[in-house]
């Protein structure tokens, strides 16, 4: 057991456009009453009474996801690193060391684009100068790996 410090440099980029004004979309991401409606993926609930949100740098972001089929629970504890309403949210998960950045762009016409950038950065890369190069090198990492997997072995 190497403890909570060990992390993996996986990276994920995810973008979605919503038909709603930016202020509302942002509020959904920091309000337990809203989060409970969507935080769990398919077949998983996120009970409102078990969500804790303190949206300020250093504040907690805690959720418990409950599997509807067997009741198993996935608690997640995170800390906000940045809360810039209504543009940007950054939080860091304690156990996985994963950092998630959510960026909210006002597209006009009551449309909002949300970009999720999720990174597992290993300790040696956490210095800012190293991080910049590291993230560049991992750009389109998922697409790249998917491409490799699609290649037939000879």
């Amino acid at each position: 057991m190497s403890g909570n410090q060990q992390t993996a440099p996986g990276e994920l980029d995810f973008t979605r456009v919503f038909d709603a004004p930016r202020e509302l979309v942002f509020r959904c991401m920091i309000d337990p009453g809203h989060l409970t409606h969507f935080w769990g993926p398919v077949g998983v609930s996120a009970p409102v009474e078990r969500i804790r949100v303190d949206p300020r740098p250093g504040g907690v972001f805690e959720t418990v996801m409950v599997n509807d089929a067997d009741g198993s629970e996935y608690p997640t504890q995170a800390t906000y690193l940045e809360v810039t309403e209504p543009e940007r949210l950054v939080w860091r998960e304690e156990y996985s060391g994963m950092t998630v950045t959510a960026t909210f762009a006002d597209l006009g016409g009551a449309q909002t684009e949300v970009r999720i950038h999720q990174v597992n950065v290993p300790e040696p890369f956490r210095r800012p100068e190293a991080q910049a190069g590291f993230l560049t090198s991992l750009d389109r990492f998922a697409a790249y790996l998917g491409q490799l997997r699609g290649t037939n072995a000879s």
Binding site: E11, H34, P41
Partner: protein, 118 residues
């Protein structure tokens, strides 16, 4: 940390280097010897060997013990594990945002519902 997570960490750490990713990309097309793998790089054989050792430790590649030239072989299942990690997180965000999309439509269609449902 579960063993699967440790394996993933080792895989991602091994793939964090561009030379090692290029080696993996080459091996995705078929087994190759150290000399063949070194050819595209301006690197000494010991430097390439160091990268291969790290890939081998991560489980991403294996090397035949008996053959003289010990060709390197890509362990696809390990690479798949890394791809699946990314796909799993992508799935969670996709489903989460599908629900958020529906929720946003609900509360904008009937703002009072926002209060009722919370």
């Amino acid at each position: 940390m579960p063993p699967a997570q440790e394996r993933l960490d080792a895989t991602f750490a091994a793939l964090a280097d561009p030379t090692r990713r290029a080696i993996v990309a080459r091996l995705a097309q078929g087994d190759a010897t150290v000399n063949e793998l070194a050819a595209p790089f301006e690197m000494t054989l010991p430097a390439i060997s160091k990268h291969l050792k790290m890939l081998e430790r991560s489980g991403l590649i294996s090397r035949t013990r008996q053959a003289q030239f010990r060709p390197c072989h890509l362990e696809r299942a390990v690479l798949d594990g890394a791809v699946e990690w990314i796909e799993e997180h992508r799935r969670v965000w996709t489903e989460r945002f599908d629900k958020l999309d529906a929720h946003l439509h609900d509360i904008q269609a009937d703002p009072a519902e926002d209060e009722e449902r919370t």
